[in-house]
Symmetry: C2
């Protein structure tokens, strides 16, 4: 489930150059790291994971890579709470159920259609960012006690 499909090497660099960016091994590594685990890591977490296979990578480069990947539509960026931005490998239209107690994030695919609200005149929509806040089953359960 969930079309978290990693782009092949050639499609990856094509996407980069279409976006006006060069291919670099750092960008490839950061991309690989984000696609590898289907969670919602912060830049710091991605930095740590990337260092495992590329110890010389720097903080600034990770931010730079992530920005490039976001601009090319290869990963998504989400703000679920105060503090660190998270990154998401799932480029399918979906929303995030976020547990305010434990921080767990669940991707839920979005059925088309529902998004037919008229916005401000002339607003050119790029993408939707839908988060549902609350308590996950585990946390809701343990609060009842």
């Amino acid at each position: 489930m969930g079309m978290v499909e990693k782009k092949s090497g050639s499609e990856f660099s094509e996407r980069l150059s279409t976006g006006g960016f060069r291919f670099t091994p750092q960008r490839q590594h950061v991309y690989d790291v984000v696609m590898q685990k289907r969670d919602h890591p912060t830049a710091e977490e991605i930095f740590i994971r990337t260092k495992r296979t590329m110890p010389e990578i720097s903080h600034a480069t990770v931010y730079n890579c992530l920005d490039a990947l976001v601009k090319c539509g290869l990963v998504r960026q989400v703000q679920l709470e105060r503090g660190a931005t998270r990154f998401c490998p799932n480029m399918e239209e979906h929303c995030h159920y976020f547990c305010d107690a434990c921080g767990e994030v669940f991707d839920v695919p979005l059925q088309k259609d529902s998004t037919t609200m008229p916005g401000p005149k002339g607003f050119q929509v790029d993408h939707y960012d839908i988060a549902v806040h609350g308590l996950c089953a585990d946390c809701a359960g343990s609060r009842k006690k």
Copy 2:
């Protein structure tokens, strides 16, 4: 339009105590400041505005007040981009159209119904947080040139 209705003094302190908080003049001031202008200020901006009528207020207190107000359902907190959290006086169900170019925020009321997607089993929804990213009319226009 937009039910941005400021609570009366007594209703305000009642809301606070229901949430387990005490009434303080600082909380009142911060609340007044947020309700006064229908925009989406950051904590820093609220700090600056509050200082005008209450020069001795501190940074930490503004954060504390805002947290209390959010927990009591008196203001909303939104994360629209990397960086500072913004606060919103509009407690009506609505979504935010956010211009990625100039940072302008537009509130758009949400018609009920549309939100009938099944989430993760047992997830206890508290609230929805819907942002629409893109370019406002002005910014979309000036890019065409």
